[in-house]
Subunit: 475 residues, 2 copies
């Protein structure tokens, strides 16, 4: 009944895309702007990004990362220095051609990513082995002129971090590339309760200009994959294109080896699509800006609001609020659900008389009556259990939606009827990868670090297989 008070959202089963759009709008995470393809991060949406940013930033700094800020513009000539890179990005950038009242002599693109700017900087900043490694990162927005956009998942401007490092040796660069992928994966699992597959992109899917791209891939509730973070090893390709050299201990000139790695606001979309349900958002407790909402019942009765305020103090080691607005309790319950607040605490005159309150957990909707003496401890337990079980449930869902295909028939059958990841062997020939994509729309998500030998033949051409690949339809 209370649910009806809040405007209904489309059910996931009926139309997952519409469910997603309803949730982002009704949980007030974002709004459309008058700039086509660009979105507005509303307070509740931006608060998620603030938490992601602060937690990731802490984890980066623990590995020695320092933050910087580069200009948002890239001169056309600079973008063109690395051949593969410019081919990958030039078709989708926004160009500034006028400054003030004058036409610019050289047009500037709004950064789609900042490899070229960091390279231009390293060229001057790095002289000797003493200047290495350079382990820098920036938090900023980038622009890619996408044709089709979806809130958080794909927009013309999005927020992200981009790490850029330069090292003396190829080995050190490779270690940093993998280290940051592991930081990303651990963050997704520990903090977002979102399990990921760690692996390497195929040659076809790797980043423009990279020698190798590593990725973490998550599975959404509808069985589609979402690339959730990538880490690239550039080898010395950019260094050669930009002339980034250092003198080593033997006083010889050497090229540096570089990496870059990024995570974006699409993680917010991932959280929605991994954990959400038909009542709205479900936020993992560690991420939730508000972890506990206290809802007074019959709040006009003497002592109820006072007790709610007292309870807020008791629970002050969590991120806690009281909803004492003049809406009905039922409406407030639904709003809490829509917004994904992990725990709501209901407290009314009868509870107060009995020295209790009712705790309701968002994901399972489990209700427990708790003595006020124990409520601080109980809420802590519920939040902890919820965080852990959300990860377990997402992992179970992913595993239940991962199938194995030995033959191309099985593969096509799986793409058509079993939404989720498909594990299958591959010969490493790009022709097979392209054929699979054209005929089934599934793409190679990654060659997981944890390889399995499912069979000896490529699922597509039956020639000897070299790699086990996770395939899937992707956002």
């Amino acid at each position: 009944m209370a649910k009806k008070l809040v405007e209904a959202i489309t059910s996931m089963e009926e139309d997952f895309a519409q469910w997603y759009t309803d949730v982002v709008k009704k949980a007030e995470l974002m709004d459309y702007s008058s700039v086509k393809g660009c979105m507005i991060f509303k307070p509740d949406g931006y608060a998620l990004w603030e938490n992601i940013q602060s937690e990731l930033d802490k984890r980066f700094k623990e590995t020695g990362v320092r933050n910087v800020y580069m200009p948002m513009f890239i001169p056309e000539s600079l973008l063109q220095l690395e051949k593969d890179h410019v081919e990958g990005f030039a078709p989708e950038v926004a160009w500034v051609t006028k400054g003030g009242l004058n036409d610019l002599q050289e047009k500037l693109c709004v950064r789609p990513t900042s490899e070229t700017l960091f390279c231009d900087y390293y060229k001057n900043a790095v002289e000797s082995y003493r200047d290495l490694p350079q382990v820098l990162n920036q938090w900023c927005s980038v622009v890619r002129w996408e044709k089709e956009t979806r809130p958080f998942l794909r927009s013309r401007e999005f927020l992200w971090q981009e790490g850029h490092t330069a090292h003396a040796t190829a080995q050190e660069a490779e270690e940093r590339t993998q280290q940051m992928l592991n930081v990303y994966a651990d963050f997704c699992e520990d903090y977002l309760a979102m399990p990921v597959i760690r692996g390497k992109k195929t040659e076809k899917e790797k980043f423009a200009g990279a020698e190798a791209t590593y990725t973490i891939e998550a599975l959404m509730h509808d069985g589609k994959a979402l690339q959730s973070g990538t880490s690239h090893n550039f080898g010395d390709g950019f260094a050669k294109a930009f002339g980034i050299q250092y003198t080593d201990k033997e006083n010889k000139l050497q090229y540096v080896h570089q990496t870059s790695w990024g995570m974006t606001t699409r993680l917010i979309g991932a959280v929605i699509m991994v954990h959400g349900d038909d009542s709205g958002l479900v936020l993992p407790p560690k991420l939730a800006p508000t972890q506990v909402m206290i809802i007074p019942v019959m709040q006009k009765k003497e002592g109820v609001l006072e007790k709610a305020a007292w309870l807020k103090d008791v629970l002050s080691n969590y991120r806690v609020k009281v909803d004492d607005s003049d809406k009905s309790p039922g409406w407030k319950f639904s709003e809490c659900e829509m917004r994904g607040i992990p725990v709501r605490v209901e407290i009314g005159p009868k509870d107060i008389e009995a020295g209790c309150a009712v705790i309701v957990r968002r994901d399972t909707r489990e209700k427990i009556q708790v003595s006020l003496d124990e409520i601080n401890e109980k809420v802590g337990q519920v939040l902890e259990n919820m965080q852990r079980e959300m990860l377990e449930r997402a992992r179970e869902h992913r595993d239940a939606h991962t199938s194995v295909a030995d033959t191309y028939e099985e593969f096509k059958e799986a793409v058509a009827n079993k939404p989720g990841f498909i594990k299958a062997m591959w010969c490493e020939d790009e022709a097979c990868e392209i054929k699979i994509k054209e005929e089934t729309t599934a793409t190679a998500r990654c060659m997981p670090f944890a390889q399995e030998q499912l069979s000896k033949q490529c699922v597509c051409c039956s020639r000897p297989a070299k790699k086990m690949v996770y395939w899937g339809k992707a956002y």
Copy 2:
């Protein structure tokens, strides 16, 4: 002797502008980029902004501010909706005219400020009095196509925060405008140890589209003023231009009243120019990313590095580092000075034998020998004293560089020979303000809240005076 090891910087007395440039480069705060007029915030420079941002953000949130993120682009038609505003900004914006491979139908400017985007948002987000107030802020970069640029003080792209609020009444908007100015002023004084004059801008100097602009003005070491933060009351001007209305409790349509307020990375320039000296940067302890640097002396002797590491643990409630690089102690001392680290601790074999270390305070260069038993407490005292005395000293400097002019002759004499603020009476006629600016290059910095009646006549035209004004040459 040690000083010579670090490349010399120009002395302030000799050439203040060159001193400033030397310090920002040699303290490694910034670097020039290949994009004309745009700068690179290097790790030590960006760390200052991170601290400013985190402290200001905390203070904002204590007053109920929530963060959001708006697009970086503004369609030309949106920028044009408020007449004064577009006139103020259109001549200095960068225009995006191409997206991907196509020309845009409507050109987009890169935001020089986001009033228009927030108004466009409020137009839809505000319906009833229940939706008010809206108290939003964003941290982002903005672009203004300046002709002459200087690191931190004026660049084509800079970082800032911009708060934008909407209120039911004119009074509430006025209160918020002043509240935020006070947040800014308190922040400058408490955290940056930088005294400011709080006041109102003249009609001529107010923000494009504002009814009133409040400002805080600081005095740099060379006697020039720096506008350090502004807070604008828009009245209902933007609301009328954009159609932002709400239904009040009597169900009548009303226009909202709006404010905006901003602080930028020029604060870093202010800190350098208020506190720096001929040895480089001097950072107020609260702002300093590294508050204490431990420098081992004769670090190859047994036990010295171990004792330095032990000392780092002892001092772990401060932001502390050990410089155990293979440079000489003298070099390290000079680097510490250049970078403005508030306290350095020297510890060598003799100190260890005596159970002591030497504390050197950056601003006064006072050296004290301290027993290791007491060092934690002593360092805390030194940091506290330094923070307080830096503010006092800056205030004394400002007061000593503030003169009073009763006549226009005195005024011109002061502008020519007494670098600093000039307090003088004004008739409130813009003609006098323009004349003063043209003839002396001094501008009206603000009409301070703390008004004094210095005389009864305008310093310029001798007609009856209405306001006491702080005048000065400004950055």
